[in-house]
Amino acid sequence: MAERPEDLNLPNAVITRIIKEALPEGVNVSKEARRAISQAASVFVLYATSCANSFAMKAKRKTLNAGDVMSAMEEMEFERFLQPLREALEAYKKGQKGKKEASEQKRKDKEKKGTDENDKSRDEEEDEHMDDEQDGENEAEEEDVEN
């Protein structure tokens, strides 16, 4: 996917919101200042990425990881960010774990439902699957026609 120029900017609405929440009430921000902050934020991402990537490359890894970003923050003299970033990362990891467990639980519940209920519903489920297969075949035929 080619990168369009606007993709290299961060959404104005979000940047504005972050700025407003950081500043006391009654303070306004000119359009030019907002634009400059948004640009600066993009430069920050690029610089942080480049910095983090050199840590990954030094460690002979092809995948940039969170640790590389932390090292980059230190290198860029943003040590003040380290603590809030570590806390955010913990919360993020918990959230990701929770989501994974939730979808695994869903899958288990589905399987359990199949065994607990009587055979009739199981047959119905199997019927559904067959219907899907038929639909699939129909679609395949359509594709052939188009080709």
Partner: protein, 127 residues
């Protein structure tokens, strides 16, 4: 992009069990305003970060030396960027206040960039 679990020592030695989500809730409209598809972006952020991770990832991939980035690294860079925006806005405000103004202007940004070491990387980069 590969989603690898980070095993960096710096993170494992800290056991912050009390980590909480950001007190400020992310409004769904933020995602809409950014042009990202609502459900996808919302599912990724779950109120920990406001900036859309997909946009951050696009920026990261603009670097030709970057091959892959873990989901966590994208998240951390997004979060760090938010902290950066907060920081530069507050630092620039000092200059506005010195000029007895309640409106932050471009020159306040320029002053902050010139004066503060951490912002040296920005010199010459803004229009």
């Amino acid at each position: 992009m590969a989603a690898t679990a980070s095993a960096a020592p710096a993170e494992s030695e800290l056991d912050r069990s009390g980590a909480e989500e950001e007190p400020r809730a992310t409004e769904p409209e933020e995602d809409a305003g950014s042009g990202q598809t609502g459900p996808t972006a919302g599912a990724q952020q779950h109120r920990l970060v406001k900036l859309p991770l997909s946009r951050i990832k696009t920026l990261m991939k603009a670097d030709p030396d970057v091959s892959l980035a873990s989901q966590e690294s994208v998240f951390i860079i997004a979060k760090a960027t938010e902290l950066f925006v907060e920081m530069i806005a507050k630092d620039a405000l000092v200059y506005a206040q010195q000029g007895k103004r309640k409106t932050l202007q471009r020159k306040d940004l320029d002053n902050a960039i010139e004066a503060i070491d951490e912002f040296a990387f920005l010199e010459g980069t803004l229009d």
